[in-house]
Subunit: 425 residues, 2 copies
Amino acid sequence: MNESAVFKAARELDQQDPLAPFRSRFVIDDPELIYLDGNSLGRLPIAAVERAQQIVRDEWGCRLIRGWSDSPNSWMDLAGRIGDKIGGLVGAEPGELRVADSTSVNLFKLAVAALRAQPGRSRLITDDLNFPSDVYILQAAIEAVGGHHRLEIVPSSDGITTPLSLLETVVDEHTALVALSHTAFKSAFVHDMTAVNHLAHQHGALILWDLSHSAGAVQVELRGSGADLAVGCTYKYLNGGPGAPAFLYVRRELQDRLENPISGWLGHADPFSFVLDYAPAEGIRRFMTGSPPIASTALVEPGVDLLLEAGMEAVRAKSVAQTSFLLDLWETELKPLGFELRSPRAPERRGSHLALGHPEAWRICQALIAEYHVIPDFRVPDNLRLGVAPLYNTFEELAKAMNALRQIVEERRYARYTTERTGVT
Amino acid sequence: MNESAVFKAARELDQQDPLAPFRSRFVIDDPELIYLDGNSLGRLPIAAVERAQQIVRDEWGCRLIRGWSDSPNSWMDLAGRIGDKIGGLVGAEPGELRVADSTSVNLFKLAVAALRAQPGRSRLITDDLNFPSDVYILQAAIEAVGGHHRLEIVPSSDGITTPLSLLETVVDEHTALVALSHTAFKSAFVHDMTAVNHLAHQHGALILWDLSHSAGAVQVELRGSGADLAVGCTYKYLNGGPGAPAFLYVRRELQDRLENPISGWLGHADPFSFVLDYAPAEGIRRFMTGSPPIASTALVEPGVDLLLEAGMEAVRAKSVAQTSFLLDLWETELKPLGFELRSPRAPERRGSHLALGHPEAWRICQALIAEYHVIPDFRVPDNLRLGVAPLYNTFEELAKAMNALRQIVEERRYARYTTERTGVT
């Protein structure tokens, strides 16, 4: 395909895109910047700018302590109200999901709770596609329940995919918990949630999903698929802001069976009784711990509202179309230049980014930012991730980014950049 | 003392007050509102309004993912930079204190770390003046280390004070950890930090302080007094905003001896290596867990800056003068009306609020808010707390509030309010 034909096709796709108007709902100060890192930090919804002023100047500044109880929009209600909205994006019912803490703290809480609820079972299963930080936390959870458990990390078949058949050989009647990232941060591989839930339950194990790379990008039916527990972050495809508070989900039937291992005042049955004995609240609130950071929590809502307005079906359809567009261009333009595909080809097993390997990935990444104004995402040692956020990325942006990658390698433009790794990207 | 003499004295004290200009550094939209609840949620610094715009609109909106690494003010540095500033208020050295998580999560982390570092010692000591939520968390910490430990709650002598002599009868060579609130949330009783540290260390125990009601109100010398560990919130006297992230302190000499029980990616030696094995960072960073909520974290800084500018010596001097002023008025005006003093008389043992008991405290509190525009703080069952925040409270406000309390009881104005308790106050 020649260059102009690609751009023509991209512009046509943009013209037909029913989600195209959503781009104008985000702050885009530099229209030339091609931002393909919504899988690390989503863009700022315009509504969040006003919300920041409101929560700081009007609510904190003027309402002061009364903000905690002001009805109908009290700070006390934020974690539940926004939690229920996120629940609407990932197939949870009202009262099954709350915004709280960080993903790591939530994972610790739910993993410890699950292990304690499964006496006599000693195995905790994950795979090597999971976030390393999730693996650290699962190890920490094991220490917190007494250390007789064992974490087993299933090796993916090729660094890209963990087939269900592999998990089937591992999960057994000694398994207490299966804990996986639904969409893998490296390859964008998406587990078959229904099948894995079924596998875990067949053997009496509980299942805990990390939805950080799924929420707002991939259709998830927590309740419908029989998932027990889930956590996830809000700063990627939910556009909640840097380091924004995370969420946790506990299937309603399990809520009163599990205990929060970091039992704080907000999870108490009567938080304002100030009694010295802990008594857990009924329902999802028992998994809360301390006071939520209100400014950061409130800023999660505008991004979630945009996704609810767009609808996850439309978001997912565009996401698949966009990663397929990238994949086709990789095949014709980049594969011959030494780029390796590190994401699944099957769209139903692929999340909202495309991972490409290249021996010069780090230097290519620097050239992409400096010379083409394209922000991708780099992961050691040689992984370039191109994240598509259907609410604001256009097909034309994708065409430009792929064209830039081709030029950078064809013309060896990366050669002038350092091999030394710095920064976050 | 007659009413006009009291107001005259108050106005004279305000005129002589070297900290008086700081009031103008806060958003005060309603000059008639007398806000005596800075011990629950501090007022909004004007600088924080601008900071909110900057962090949201400019940094998140325009810098996007680059905000994490932008020098010199990267988001990655916030927890350490603001932590060091808070350290300057509580006598920690740079690199000993970080902003992170909630007070409860931090307390859990440090209590578990301390108990694990003290093998063979089974006793954990606290007192009944501590926050109930701290007691819940200490209980949770015991469960996380295996359950053979025992939490002992020393009963205070009178609900106001826990004398050192009482602690001396309890702390022994089986004590792993002593965990106390430095300033008690109910009575404002302030433990003698140096003496308690010495007592703990004499017996080989570690000591963990909750500074939530001390930081920004009472002079604290963590390092100078030999404290091992501390946590605290930032939303009270530090004016960091509702639910703002908390802090944790680990004395430098202990940092590499203790392990973070919720080992997350930010505490990893090389967070961007993405290796599956956890290796703790050196120094205080190992006690970090997940990504910090950047908006709420950044908003902590303006309030801390104001306290650093004012100086804790001046802040404490005014705080003592103001609670003494309240105490004198209680003695002459309120004691005869059935108000009971529930704070220590000795200024060196008293934090920055005065607790008054009254059988009708809840209804008095409602009258105070509705008819006098005074916001106090109520704690079940019959405790009225009057918090003074020296950076923005005037003596005249205190005189008005005490006069209102007198009128409400003398004229039985509380009688029209409900005995049913609602809301947060």
